[in-house]
Amino acid sequence: MTGLDVVIGLLGLVAVGAALMVAVTRQLVHAALWLVVCLAAVAGCFLVLTAEFLAWVQVLIYVGAIVVILLFGLMLTRAPIGPVTDLSRPRRLLAGTVAVAVGAVIVTALLMAFGGATIDLSGAPQGDATTTGTVIFRAWVLPFEIISLLLLSALVGAIALSRASGDEVDS
């Protein structure tokens, strides 16, 4: 057990705890905020795993953009402020069981395969901006461009969806 194990373990605990709060909190806005904590902790994990660039992207995009959009979504759907009792379904026990079972299956599978493996983090960082940038624009440039197309179409789609309903409101 090295120090890195401890660090990533603690970050993991934070991430899991925050995720749990996202899943069970009774306050909608809190859920979004707990999500920030969780994502940040995951970014920390990335850092530990020497994927620096990804960590910052994680913070920028997820924490900076996505959670903000989610908060907008909550506001636009008139989310109540304060605790709400029926945020979860009555039959959540079944959902919980299934979730635990899914987790158990995954963890079992992973541990059975890689239970004793260790990561060698010595040497240069695996994911600093140089490394990642080089790889992306050499090996992954075509998918990267396609992703940009996807983003564009998602943009158009989102506008179309919102506009269609906007017209209705106008008329």
Binding site: A19, A99, L110, A117, T131, A158
Partner: protein, 137 residues
């Protein structure tokens, strides 16, 4: 450092994400659950990328793509949620049942097994046969 630690964390995140998707009634919270699951996957991808010392850094590249796609997904998802909210004034998934196989569906123009003049539910199409006969003299 042990590979097991990020693996366990990712599995737990994924399970929690599943729970959120399955159990939460608010559509935005369900989307958050999806984000959790995506993050779990991202963590795995990065962990394996580092573990395997992949020179192409497939894991990291994919993670980047996933993040991008997640951004697109959340944008579209919220647009849909908003459209639904405008249409039915709620985003409570328990109340959104338009996909249900309704008994009183509006379209019966086509040749449907239920005769349009079906006045009784239990009487099946073929079942109606039982009621007919020439009465014996």
């Amino acid at each position: 450092m042990h590979l097991a630690v990020p693996l366990v964390i990712a599995s737990a995140l994924f399970a929690i994400g599943v729970y959120a998707v399955l159990a939460r009634r608010n559509a935005v919270l369900v989307l958050m659950g999806v984000e959790l699951m995506l993050n779990a996957v991202n963590l795995l991808l990065v962990a394996f990328d580092v573990y395997l010392r992949d020179t192409l850094h497939t894991g990291q590249a994919l993670t980047l793509f996933v993040i991008t796609i997640a951004a697109a997904e959340i944008g579209l998802g919220l647009a849909i949620v908003l459209a639904v909210f405008r249409g039915s004034a709620t985003i409570d998934l328990d109340l959104l049942r338009t996909l249900a196989d309704h008994d009183d569906g509006p379209d019966h123009d086509g040749p449907d097994l239920d005769a349009p003049d079906a006045d009784e539910d239990h009487d099946t199409t073929i079942g109606r046969q039982a009621q007919r006969s020439g009465s014996p003299p």
